[in-house]
Subunit: 422 residues, 2 copies
């Protein structure tokens, strides 16, 4: 049996709004699976090697549950443009380049490395519609130590010619991709209709059937902006609300991720809670594209599952520490919008959403719970000035708000060390 | 005569919303003063050494017109607390530590270095009320190459005992500080009544008289939140609006900076424009503390001077590239709040506010205008993936949105190179 023991100031998020801290504690994993967090090393581990990180913080690593891998090269560009111009000038041409496997290899290798270096070890990603590039993405993620789900995008209507499939072709390529990605260990397939306007009813029905037959998870977009909602209404006059266009085809269950949900009202939120759908809140993107500000506090109060996504390149931060901070800030903007009637997200709440809530989609228990695979990031904040002696919670807050050069010391993913800056 | 020639992709902001770009251009300074930007090196400079930065961007350096130096150690902490609790738990105890010159020296040296490394070469700063620590701050800034104004804070009411002066003491210490800081070359004094509730009428009158007699600039806070505005109204029932409490004492003119102005209505904004007061917009801080979102677009449309401030530690980004991005994002939040009636700030507009608009307070002309002292930052973005061949404007946008490790290659301040990462 292999034993991993990390020593440091351990902070975890066992519940929404609650932090558990153990200074000078031991985080122990057996064969990559967490055995526990201990203030004193139990007798049975005596003699096992300890990775002593001194006073550094040992945190749960982060989960990014919505991002578009092929938009990575255009991260932070075109943010002044209205949505349609942005898609035409940047998104579509950039995504179309992933027909070239060499370009895909170079970009995806860099993306995977940047994710790991920033402590993101779990993802749910949109690839492009290209089967080959999607397999390359999965390969590069797995090599770098990123775990999670990747989806070959399906779109057989309302796109540009270079980025649109025939319906049959989309189905066939999806099946072939599913065959070809069976050997990945850490990165698994997720069905990915881009969003209702991009998929014909036949394609939606096919994907819903496939999800049921093969027990596959599903990711898509929902209620991002008001124009989109009106468009969906036109396309599906039989559906009362946007979410019903997914439900109708078997794409609405407890393995479904829906990005954005900015305009989801009480009824749509109730449908999420009832089905166990997870909302992926993408604060940066929603603000950059002027979509609005999602009612995250209402969702949490109502018991809807909420996790966070960077949504690059609508979002401009790949680093999930930044995304947590952006989510907290957006909740404050929402509070101002609501006339101070709703509460903002606290740091502990934002941190839970960026870690435990995301990990829950992968069936991990919250915090460093025994039985979870070890996913952790070690952060050294020793270079910063101290106003007073800080608690681990204060130090965590500072990590969320203040990106520090070379602060990430090591990253553990699925039980293995995948990054070390020494 | 000393000649400085920087070669690279030169981008400047000569007017609000306009970028001027010269790829492979030459930025020339004579004795530290800009002679011009040239696509081809003029004959008269033949033989002079050229600092060739290849394809790197050569940008104007940034100006941070509102920040609290003694709050630097608490940057990114206490952001969940309501304003008063935040002040009591973090701000006041931290500021009180600057009675200790050794602590001040250590912290201010690090602050000055971090400013320069991030390309901020001009500042208007609040120190604490401590005369000695204020001189240390000025010394450390000057040594690092940061230029601008620093103010010893005046506060003789409504503070905690450790952070309050007697009225006479405040006046005496201010005069002594002004004597003692005469020999600084790059960092000059600015009168700094903390804000109306912290200063008795006698102190305000004294400061106004001093400003006039010695031709000193002034900085303070204005209309940050609604509770504060009501408080000022109670303290000065004779004044129709908050700004009049400054005007009444001669603290409202074209050398006045007013931070925040979140709730400044049309009448207050007209008073700013008429007097030539400069608003310092602090987007991060206003959102973090739930103050609101300042009507920056209205101010610009009306011809009010607006510059940007990090406002650490209410703001959580010291890096002004981040502050520019935060200001753009806040303008989009404001747009959502206004029902999409107002325009957001474009990247070119945000960049102008963070560079040329701030430099204007120091009487520099916009952009790399001939006659300006050379203030520049060289940024290498070569490590990022390319979706297509990028224009300098696209590359600037990416620098604003996407902080890149070790991207700042060199910084020039007041004609001298003050940082180089090679």
């Amino acid at each position: 049996m292999s034993i991993t023991i990390l020593k440091g100031a351990i902070v975890s998020a066992p519940a929404l709004g609650r932090l558990e801290t153990t200074e000078g504690g031991y985080l122990v994993a057996e064969n990559g699976k967490i055995a526990g967090v201990f203030p004193v090393l139990p007798e049975r581990y005596a003699g096992a090697p300890v990775e002593d990180y001194g006073d550094a913080l040992i945190l749960q690593s982060l989960a990014d549950l919505h991002l578009h891998a092929p938009q990575y090269p255009m991260l932070g560009m075109g943010m002044d443009l209205p949505l349609l111009d942005w898609l035409n000038a940047y998104t579509f041409p950039t995504e179309a380049r992933f027909a070239d496997p060499c370009y895909a290899r170079t970009v995806y290798r860099q993306l995977a490395r940047e994710l790991i270096e920033n402590g993101t070890t779990r993802v749910c990603m949109f690839s492009s519609l290209h089967r080959e590039a999607t397999l390359i993405l999965m390969e590069e993620l797995e090599k770098a130590g990123v775990t999670g789900y990747v989806g070959k995008v399906n779109m057989d209507r309302n796109a540009i010619p270079a980025l649109q499939e025939e319906t049959e072709e989309s189905m066939r390529e999806t099946l072939r991709w599913l065959e070809e990605c069976q050997n990945f260990r850490l990165v698994k397939p997720i069905l990915t209709p881009r969003f209702t306007p991009s998929c014909t009813n036949d394609l939606m029905a096919f994907l819903g059937k496939l999800a049921a037959e093969r027990n596959l998870p599903i990711q898509s977009h929902l209620s991002e902006n008001t124009g989109e909602i009106a468009w969906v209404k036109d396309l599906h006059p039989d559906c009362g609300q946007y979410w019903e266009t997914y439900q109708k085809y078997g794409l609405w269950n407890n393995r479904t991720l829906m990005a954005h949900c900015v305009w989801s009202d009480q009824r749509e939120r109730t449908a999420m809670r009832t089905a166990g759908v997870t909302v992926v809140h993408c604060a940066d993107s929603n603000q950059n594209i002027c979509s609005g500000t999602a009612p995250v506090r209402a969702m949490l109060n109502e018991g809807v599952n909420v996790a966070l996504g960077s949504d690059i390149a609508g979002g401009d931060h790949l680093n999930m520490f930044d995304v947590v901070a952006a989510s907290i800030r957006a909740s404050k903007a929402r509070r101002i919008l609501d006339g101070w009637e709703t509460d903002f997200l606290t740091v502990a709440e934002g941190w839970f959403l960026g870690t435990s809530a995301g990990a829950a989609f992968f069936e991990a228990s919250p915090g460093f719970a025994p039985g979870n695979m070890l996913h952790a990031v070690v952060v050294d904040d020793g270079g910063l000035p101290q106003p007073h002696s800080l608690t681990p919670a204060e130090r965590l807050e500072r990590c969320v708000y203040r990106r520090q050069k070379n602060a990430v010391q090591a990253v553990w993913s699925e039980g293995k060390r995948v990054f070390s800056n020494t």
